[in-house]
């Protein structure tokens, strides 16, 4: 069996095409970025080696703190909303007794299909303090809780994260739905016959069997939260001031607005390391649950 699944020629055939392409097109530029992070470089002229100076400066950069805080908040919103709601909806839609499942399933995915620009424009209008839907809703309910959603330094990042969470919930939903479907139905039925309630049966039987799917969904949600950028760029342009900055926004600023490419590379090395660490932790946590 070992020999059968350790077939060297087959291994090479399966691995090499992807590995070569990926290494040349993606890893090589990544390594260049790592290399350049030790230089003072504007992206064009001759670079000067400055050792760890970029990193030293980075750890004293007030933007980094803002970015890390925003990244963490963003990731949190994504996890809670996308995975939480995605799980509930996936379980409901996988239940053959739910009416109109097909229609629901299709509809939930629609926001994913639209371009980010459209969705951001829609939410800018919804968040508008005078004409926006949310504040009007509060008004109709007679509440005085009117907010300046996108201008407030604290709420704006959550408001923007929510837009991303909402748009790409369908993504996670599709993955989770596939995960639920992959769990053989008789497991679940056996559990319900044993007297478990429907939701308890899911909690004890279906969800643990979806470990690989969850690992993946958490990884996607958390790392895309840490690296978020486009929504900020479109909706508030990182502002007011720099309150909505994330690490990717920092990279954008230093590389393109200030021609400080070497420093931008240092930021991105840190971003990759943080994302990798997050992935490792997610894997550990889920694997420990398996053995426990």
């Amino acid at each position: 069996m070992n020999k059968y699944l350790g077939n060297k020629a087959a291994l090479a055939l399966f691995l090499l095409p992807a590995l070569i392409l990926y290494s040349v097109i993606l890893i090589y530029p990544v390594l260049q970025g790592v290399f350049r992070s030790f230089y003072e470089w504007d992206g064009l002229s001759t670079a000067t080696f400055i050792g760890l100076d970029n990193y030293k400066e980075l750890f004293g950069d007030p933007l980094l703190l803002t970015s890390l805080k925003n990244g963490a908040l963003f990731a949190l919103v994504l996890v809670v909303f996308q995975i939480g709601l995605g799980t509930v909806l996936a379980l409901v839609c996988a239940n053959p007794r739910t009416r109109g499942r097909r229609l629901l399933k299709t509809a939930y995915f629609i926001p994913v299909v639209l371009s980010v620009t459209v969705v951001c424009q829609l939410w800018i209008a919804i968040y508008d303090p005078t004409n926006g839907l949310i504040n009007r809703l509060f008004e109709m309910l007679g509440l005085s809780y009117r907010q300046n959603w996108l201008s407030s330094p604290t709420e704006s990042i959550i408001a923007i994260a929510f837009v991303n969470a909402w748009q790409f919930m369908g993504y996670q939903f599709a993955l989770l739905y596939a995960g639920v479907k992959a769990v053989p139905e008789d497991y679940f039925e056996a559990a319900t016959i044993d007297g478990c309630g429907k939701w308890r049966a899911h909690w004890h039987v279906t969800l643990p069997l979806m470990r690989e799917t969850y690992k993946f969904c958490f990884t996607i949600a958390i790392t895309s939260g840490i690296g978020a950028f486009v929504q900020m760029l479109i909706m508030t342009n990182g502002g007011p001031g720099t309150t909505n900055y994330t690490m990717t926004f920092m990279i954008y600023r230093y590389a393109f607005m200030e021609s400080n490419y070497g420093y931008a590379c240092a930021v991105s090395v840190l971003l990759v390391l943080i994302s990798l660490a997050a992935t490792m932790i997610i894997n550990r946590v889920f694997d420990r649950e398996q053995t426990a």
């Binding site: 504007d42 064009l44 002229s45 508008d128 300046n148 342009n237 502002g239 007011p240």
Partner: protein
Amino acid sequence: MKLFNNRLGAVVIALSTALLVSACGSQAANDTTQAAAEGGKVQIKVYAQHFDEDTKGPFDYAVEELKKEMPDVEIVLDSAVQDGYQKLKTYAATGNMPDIYFTDWTTLQTFAKSKNVELLDDYSATTDYKNNLNTGVESRLIAPDGHVYAFPDTGIEFQLLYYNKTIFDEVGIDTPIKTYDELIAASTKLKEAGYLPLSIFAKEKWITNAFYNGLVTREDSQGLGALDEPGVTALPEAFVTAAEQMKNLQTAGLFDANATNTNYDQASSLFYQGKAAMFVNGQWEIYSSTEKLGDQVDWMYWPAKDEATFEQAKSSINGAGAPGGYAVSPGSKNKETAVEVAAFIAKKSAEYRYTKLGSPIVTPKVDKEIAGDVPAMMQRVADELLPNATQYAKALSSTEIQNAMNDNTQNMLVDGFTQEDFIGNLNRTLEKQNQ
């Protein structure tokens, strides 16, 4: 199952072939265009802004004129969009520079360091250009380091305060507003009457910066450029005063609470629909505001701390000339021709703006008649403002200070951000940059 595999295989093969064919096909197409160009003509590739009326008109006119002047030259246009010159920088990084490109001072500084821009100092076209400048616009052509990097077409642009006369009359505000106290009083009155006092597209940070600079230039005619000096490690007095004024104006409700999320289309729409009484933008706004509001609209000078300062500061303009325009790549195969062409396009583009669009804000002198239907507001600029203008502001070259200014002036429009925050943040940046 078997059926599926065969089909998949066939699809894959078909698609790979399609890829190869399409790649080769486009290669072949490129070759033919190259061959066609070698008919004794010199091909000059120009990377220029060419995406709307304001950018297409002048450029197309210049190219038409060039055909008469230099029939041997063929212009190949690569149209640029507003991307902060990202694509141009990629061209530089990949050694794929066009012969001529249009860019700004920030990019020119990077390109000067990396030898991606030709020094134009010793060309005869430059001498001619220098000898034919409008008054006061030298800083558009000659960089602070004394070199010439690019041929500018537009002159020094500046920001004005526009106001709706009808609304001012209705609410009973005397014009012109001269002092900052009067502006605060006016915005209180306007708010009470249900108008938004001033609409500003503060989603773009440069406009909040320009507003702040408007206040600064009343006190120090150099404006933000005064921060470029080594040794200036803390905000000078004029800047502190302007920060206090801007914050107080914000607290008094001059700006919309959602200003930092308002884009140009929203802000201008508020002004044109008579919902906002004032608007701030560059002098170029004169054309569309005249079109939309006719003689209901006029511009005013920036208010100062008192009337004496106001009168005195009338001659300082809230706009700074920085080098920029059509530059030439040192790697160009036809460098000599490219320099001639760049100067010619810049000059003719200015000519079009002057004769067809009626804009006196151009760098080279134009010896033709200005367009017949100059809007009244522009006529006022030409008669009253430009001749008496002794001082343009100084450009700020440091991108770090510029960005800090942009961020923090935008933040000034948000509740809870104080002038102390503003001063503290800027002092930190100044200390780092100007030590």
